[in-house]
Amino acid sequence: MLNIVRPKIEIRRVSKAYASDHGPVLALRDTDLAVGEGEFVSIVGPSGCGKSTLLYIVGGFLDADGDVIIDEKAIMGPGTDRGIVFQEYALFPWLTVEDNIGYGLDRQHVSATDRKKIIDRLIGVIGLTGFEKRYPRELSGGMKQRVAIARTLACDPAILLLDEPFGALDAQTREIMQDELLRIWLETQKTVLLVTHDVTEAVYLSNRICIMSARPGQIIEQFTVDLDRTRPREELVLSPDFNTIRNKVWLSVRRQALAAGQQNVDPS
């Protein structure tokens, strides 16, 4: 395990049990993880291993045993320091694109001029100029996810939590969105925690990958990814060092998936 001095996020012996008809089900068991500031960490694992649950616990939406420490303080529920992006986009359908993006700003009673400035900038960043007054139901999946990301960025959280954000998108859109996310991370240097079942995505984006075991989830292996991300996607994805890492990670996840008795790992 890596030794990080003064980690941004510290997850200490987190366990989570659910009640079910057959008694309590342990989703996570004594999970430990430390994330340094500015790191991009992916959590990969078979379906149902608890990786999303872990993310929701870090986000403060679920209670759990153990501690989640952020900036050396235990968390007390959701907060604007941890932005979250869901696979389902979770845009407020009754608000337009610009009102969705401005939602967090409205909660903080930001002045109208500042609000407009931030929204205009973000709309430009995500490339949706001209769509400000549209409603979510008029947007495609990729556009919705962009708005969701912009909405989270508007509050400028230090940490970004992403729960399989591109899972609902088609392959081409997914790749475009991955590049966008990478660009945003390189620019803003935020701490990012990404949950995904797509191994290639994890290797492409993150500088550290955590493999989660089958239920009850624990982080059983970690890989450091040290690739030069200034190279274009075509070069990077086809290069041998990318594939060496990718194969190692894939194998590790596959072992977990087989251990869980599933064949659900996406070998893409």
Binding site: P78, T80, R82, I84, F86, A90, F92, R107, Q108, C155
Partner: protein, 269 residues
Amino acid sequence: MLIRPEAVSAGAARLIGRMSPLVLFIALWYGACSSGLVNSEFLPTPTKVAAALADLVSGGEIARNLFVTLFRAAVGLALGSICGIWIGLMMARSERFKAYVTPIVGGTYSLPKSALIPLFALWFGIGNVTAIAAVFLACLLPMIVNTYHGVVTTPKVLVWSAQALGTTDRELPSQVLLRSAMPDIFTGLRIALGFSFVLAISTEMIASTSGIGKLIFLYGENGTYDYMFAAIACIVAVAFVADRVTLLGMHRLLRWHESAAADYERRRL
């Protein structure tokens, strides 16, 4: 948005097309009366009814009583909706509240609200309060049920996103829960609107000295059936218009809803 003239005339033609069975009906009515098929004692001709209607409108008779009925319905509807929304929201947010309140709500579900009219007459006499109380209770239930359903089906990820963006627990209902529930709340409102008319008229027929319901009843007793038919036609028209206006308002306010486009196509019924 410019309104294209072709669209207007096409819309008007569609409307006339949809209304023509009614014209047919009136023609049949007239035929049945004038041919002696039906005793004109029991069914005044359309022309007589129309004349009676004109007289009522010009004499202010209709306007006065209509206003009373609508006032009672509107106040009961407003109070019932506000309380119903609040109770439905509380039931959705607190399991304890829901457990305590459900049997009371369930009990009123099976009780025909008009059965309470004599009770309210006993308590409040024969004025506005009785009618408003009856309307209030009738509107309460659909609003509670629909608000509860709307709030309870708010997607978790919406609530979580709102919380991550700084929404406090106090702001959550107004910012997220009630807005997500709006389509359901409006459905409940339309139902409650129908109930408000029924209860207002029922109360007036049973225990009141004013209002359209009373008016219809009186004309019936006096034997001036053309006026009776005219008053009934009036309230049917008003109820129809009120429902359509609500529907229109609903579509404007729910423009953002997934099915808003689909609903607008199905304008009928």
